[in-house]
Structures are given as C-alpha cells and as structure tokens.
C-alpha cells in the first residue's frame, strides 16, 4: 500500500506540480491551499506524511507543524520553500520538520526526501 500524503501549498500551479510529481509513487489524499485547511485535513485524513509550504498566509508552515505535533499526530513533515535561509530552515526543523526541500530542486530531491523521511532519516536540500 502506498504511503498517504497530504499537500499544503498556497500557490495553485505549485500545488498541482507537487501533486503531479508524487501521484505515481504515493497516495495523495488531499491537497489544500492554506495552513488552517491543512491542520483540519491532517486530523481528518491522518496521512503518513505532510508536504508543507513554509510561507502561507494566516498559518505558515512551521505553525501548522507545531499544531499538528501538538495534537499528537505522528505524520512526518517535509517543508518546501524557495528560500534556503538558514534561520528559516532552523525554525522549520525546530517546529517538527523532518526534511527541508528547495522548491527549485523538487524534481530531483522531493521523492528522495520523502523516502528518506519515511525510512526515519532526515533530509535537507543542498543550497543552490
């Protein structure tokens, strides 16, 4: 059985691209556009892994991660972002992230990162 994934990304084209990248290998249970929707969807679908865009309005990626973890959810979390700012990466990992993938390198890094995370390891994209 394919692992269940949930995608939270506010940019529609990016959301569609991420889904299309992962559809073949994973079961994408939902893709949502905002942080609040993501928190709701996680408690509803109980996915194995959540792909979180770092910067979203109202609730951003790290916020969602903290809430989800606070609810006692064990889903792995992979952050995606255009930015490779060290402070931001630190914040995301501290919020409960397991991987941090640069959106620019998603074609090469994203599936690899997910497999690594599901295998219990961590992954951070190399800086461009």
């Amino acid at each position: 059985m394919k692992p269940k994934l949930l995608i939270a990304e506010n940019h529609p084209a990016m959301r569609a691209k991420v889904a299309s990248l992962l559809q073949r290998d994973f079961d994408v249970v939902a893709s949502v556009a905002g942080g609040l929707a993501a928190v709701e969807a996680v408690s509803h679908f109980l996915p194995d892994l959540v792909i979180l865009d770092v910067s979203m309005p109202i609730l951003d990626g790290p916020d969602v991660a903290r809430r989800v973890k606070a609810h006692g959810c064990n889903a792995k979390i992979v952050f995606i972002s255009v930015s490779m700012d060290l402070n931001q990466i630190t914040t995301c990992l501290a919020a409960g992230g397991d991987a941090y993938v640069s959106k620019v390198r998603m074609a090469t890094d994203l599936i690899y990162a997910i497999t690594e995370v599901l295998a219990g390891r961590r992954f951070i994209s190399p800086d461009v």
Binding site: H11, S55, V82, S83, D85, N87, V104, R105, M106, T108
Partner: protein
Amino acid sequence: MSKSSASTLAIKLGVSSWPTALIGIVVIKAVLSLAVKPGSFVVSYSGISYLVLLVLATCFAMRNGIQNTLGARFFWVLLATAYSLWSAHQALNLYYELGLRIEVPDNSIDDSLLFLHVGALVAAIATLPHRGVSNQKQNRAVANVLLVTLFWIFIYGYAVFPYQYLISSGTAFSYALRFDIVYLLENLAVIGTAGVLAFRVKGPWQSVYFHLLAASTLYALSSTVANLEIDSGGYVSGKLYGVGLTASVCWFVWIPLCARHLPSRQVTATPFDSHQSSQASMWAMIVVVMISVPIVWELLQRDERSDLRALRVVFAVVMIVCLASSAYIKEHRAQREHKERFLSVFDYSAVGMALVGCDGRWIRVNRALCEILGYSEQELLDTNFQSLTHPDDLDADLSYAHRVFTGQLRFYHLEKRYIHKQGHVVWVALTASAVPDASGKVSYGIAQVQDITARKHAEAAVLRNQEELQSLAGRLITVQEEERKRIARDLHDDLSQRLALLCVDLDMLRQNRPADVQAAQELERMRREIGELVVDMRRLSHNEHHPQLTLGLQHGVASFCNDFSKQYGIAATLVHEGNLKRIPETVCFTLFRVLQEAMSNVAKHSEADGVTVTLGVHGDQAVLRVSDDGRGFEIGSDRGLGLISMRERLRLVGGTMRVNSSRQQGTDVEAAVPIPISGGLNIPVIGKADGNT
C-alpha cells in the same frame, strides 16, 4: 544778486550782528573812557547805555523763558529776575544821578536790589538745568531757590541792613564797607557755583555755564574796584573799570542770545537721583548751624547797641526757623516721593508682586497679583501661598522657600501652578528672594509672579503638533513598509514560485531526455540561469521586506547579517545591548532601512574584511552602529552614499546620524533615535537656585 543769497546774508548778519554790536559798545566805551575827560557830562550818559543793555538782557532771558529754550524755563525765569533786579538798581542810580543830580543816598533801596540780583543769579545757576526739570521736580527747584535766596537775605539782613538804616555812617565798620565785603562774597559765591557746575553740566549747558563763569568773574572784579572807588568818594563814571563793567554786562546780554543757537537735542533728561537731594539737605543743615554761630557770638558781645542786638537775634532766629523748616520740608518731601515711587512701582507693576512672611502668609500684594490669582487684596491677605499653590508643585516650592527663609539661598526661580479663584490652573514664573533685616535674619521674602499660562498653553500646543507630526511620520513609515511588504509578497508568492516551477519542469525534461547531449547542455544552462534568477528574486524580495523582521528587529538584523556575510563574503558580527523590545515598530523599520543602506555602502565601497553591527538601547535612545575595517573615505566626499536618504529617514522619527571616517581608518556610521522612556514623566517644574549667601 539773487534773492536767496540776499536772505542768506541777512541771516548771517542776524546771527553775527549781536556779538559785533556788543563788542562795538565795549570798544566805544573804552575809547570814550580814554579820550574824554573823566567826569564829563557826556560820559555820565554811558550809564544810560548800561541800563539799556540790562533791559535788553532781561528781555532776552524772558524770551528764552517763554520759548523754553534748551528745555529749562525755570533757569531763564530766574536769570530774567536777576537781570530785572539789576536793571531796577541801575534805573534808580540813573534817577538819582541824572534826575535829582545828587549822590545815591545810603538808605536807598538800590543797593539791596543789586545785592538781591546776585542772589537770584546764584539760584539760577543752582537749578542744574541740564537735568531736565519736570513738573514734579519743579517744587524741588523752587525749594532750592528759596533756600539760596533766604540764605543771602539772612546774610544781608544780618551784616548790612542794620548799618544801612539804623546806624548812621561814621562808625568804624561803616555800611558801605560792609556792603562791599558781603557783595564781594556773594559774587565769589556766583563764581564758585558757576565754576564747579561748569564742569558737571553736560552738552550745550557747559558753554552757557562757562560764559556765566567768565562774565561774573569780570563783573566781580570790576564791581569790587568800582565800589571801593565809590566808598573812597572817587567814583566817577567813565573810568577804566567802567569798561570792565560794560563788557561784563554785554557778556551777560550775550548769554541768553547764544543759548538760542545751541543744539537742544543734546539735552536729555537724566534720571532723578535721590542721593543729590539728601546731599542738598545736608548742606542746608550746615548752613543753619553756621548761622547759629554768629547769634551766639552776638549774644556774648556786649559792647553794641541793645536794640541792634535784639534786631539781629530776632532776624537770625526767624531765618533759622525758615531755613530749617524749608530744609526739613524739602527732605521730607523727597523721602515721601521716594517712598511713593517705590510703592507705586510695587502697586502698578505689571508683574505680580507680594511680600510673603516666613509662614507663607501674604503680607502685602499688588494689583497685578490679585488679577493673576482672581482674588481681592483682602482675600489674599487672609490666606497664604500654600493654599493657592497646585498640590503637585507645592513640595518643590516649599523646599525652596524654606531654604530662602533659613538664609541658605538668596533667591530661586520656579515655574509653578496656582489655582485661580475660579478653579482653573494658572501657570506662573515665580522669582522669590529673601529680604534680610539689619542683623541678616530673613523675616520675609519678595515674590515676583508672572503669568505664563498663555506661553504654557502655546508650548503644549506645539508639543501636541509635534506629536501629531511624529505619529503622521510613523504612519507614513508603516504605510511605506506595508507597501514594501506587499511587493515582497508578490515577488515571493507568485513570481519566485513560478520560476521554481520552471526549474522543476526543466529538471524533469533533463531527466526524460538524457540522449541528446547538446539539448541536455542547453537545458542545464537554462536550469542554472533560472536557479540564479530565483536567488536574485528572493534577495530583492528580502530587500523590500525582510521576513524575519516580523519576528523582531533583533531577528531581522541577525538574519540580514547572516545573508550579508554569505552574499558578499564580508564577516558581519552582530552585538546587541539593552532591552531591544522597547524599540517601537516604526523605529525598528527605520533602523533596519538604515542598516540596509549602511551595509550596502560597506559592500559596495569599503573593501572591508569585517563589519560589526551594534544594536543597543541606552536610556531613552535606540542606537545602531555599523563599523567596518575598510578603506574609509574623506568626510565631505560622501555624496551619493545614500547618507542623505538615511538622514531623512531618521529625521522622520526624530533621530540623528553621525558618520566618522577617514582614509584607511574604516567607517563608523551611528544612528540614534529617541524612544519613550519606561516609567512616568518628571513633574514639569523647573527649579533653579543661585549660590548660597
């Protein structure tokens, strides 16, 4: 010859014809005295010219009095009096000589007139006309004249009068000799007074007084010789001393004439000087004492006629009483005037004034203070300053007042509030000073109170306006930042996402078509290009709005320094001091922008290896310092380094910027912005104290 030059000639003649005429008279007189045999009938008519000259002098002096020449009417009136007495004397003389054709009898009044005219002359000189006699001081001048005149009347009445009318001639000390001596004394007094005052008076009066001095000296000399000659029975009109007499009279005529041509604008009223008046009364007292000496002498001397002695004593006593009482009245009046003047300064001052006792009770208050506080005088006198002072200002005032009353402080200045009778607050500037008595103990103080409510309100309005401007500036900064944030979001949220998508697509394309080497290389290049574009876009977006700034200035600056080091390879070290959370948001934005600008200068111009960013809060200031170890620049060649825009940004939040740099010494940029102090504001009372006494 034109009409105008003719009139100019006439004016010239008008001005210079008098001295010419006067000198001509003297010359004619001299020629006559030398050429014509003394005792001639013709020469005795020179007495007539003498009279004419005196009448002329009287008229000129009167005209000056009427026209208030040089602003000294009183002086001219007295001078005219002196001249007219003199004319009367001369007229009487001529009446006896030419009309009755007899010698002037001893008991004639004409000698008394001659004597009196010199008294009037002394009085005129003693008026000190250069002081500008105002109406109020006219009384004082009249009193002075009375004193002088009484004195000379006394001298005459004591030494001459009895011999003139009571004792027949032939005694050892005859009337004529006594008169000559006293008359000489009187003339010497004129010379002395004119001589002393000629050096004291100022402006045009100096020349008038020197003329007076010279004329009276000439007259004294000639008249003394003439009198002695008459007494020895040898006087005949037409002798040489007659020339001296005529010349002196001509000179006296010239005095009122020349005064008309002096510039009167130089005459300025000098302020009244109470010291002078007390000195005058001291002299009056001395005169009184001096007069009593001959009385005692008179009483002790037994070899004279008893009726004469009685007359003299009565005369002297009456004079003493007159002199003493006029001196007393003068002094009393001066003191009262002085006191009234002080009290009117107190009462009519526009500044509120009060005498305050040690317990704070009002002892005396003026009208201005009543108006400032809204109470009547009696209501104020029934209360004390403590009960009318605003409770917030009372402690400061009391502590200063205590130090003044205990002699530790001579005075203090305080801006404080009183409560008006109608209940509103009155702001005043108070100056309070100690009034020590003779032993140095302070029994009460003087308070001077100026209403500054209007100024305080204006100041508050200015402050409000400033606050409004500040908040407007703050809003401007916020709006600007919001706008930048929006642009940043657009860049980040959409454009960079789409670029990232392109990257993904290109990567996938590369993965799918590895066979075509050239296409793969091309794809690789495009991929790299777009990757760089994403990074640039992100930088641009961060420049517009640094995402970490929302987490606080400290985070923003840390993240910025981190990025900076990475981007330019210049090690940026961040140091922070104090509680940075106290910095308001608008100031945060401003300081961050200044940091961006300064760091951009470091990157572009400094060639530095390292830069230290210090962010601190010290007291009521937030300070940002950017110091690099680069090549520096010369101050003044700093155009185009964005310093102006930094300064403008800082000015919006009331901040300032200092730049220190010199070649090879690195650059130090320091921005300081005032921030609200934690805790309450100080009470708005400014206390200022002079040194201890």
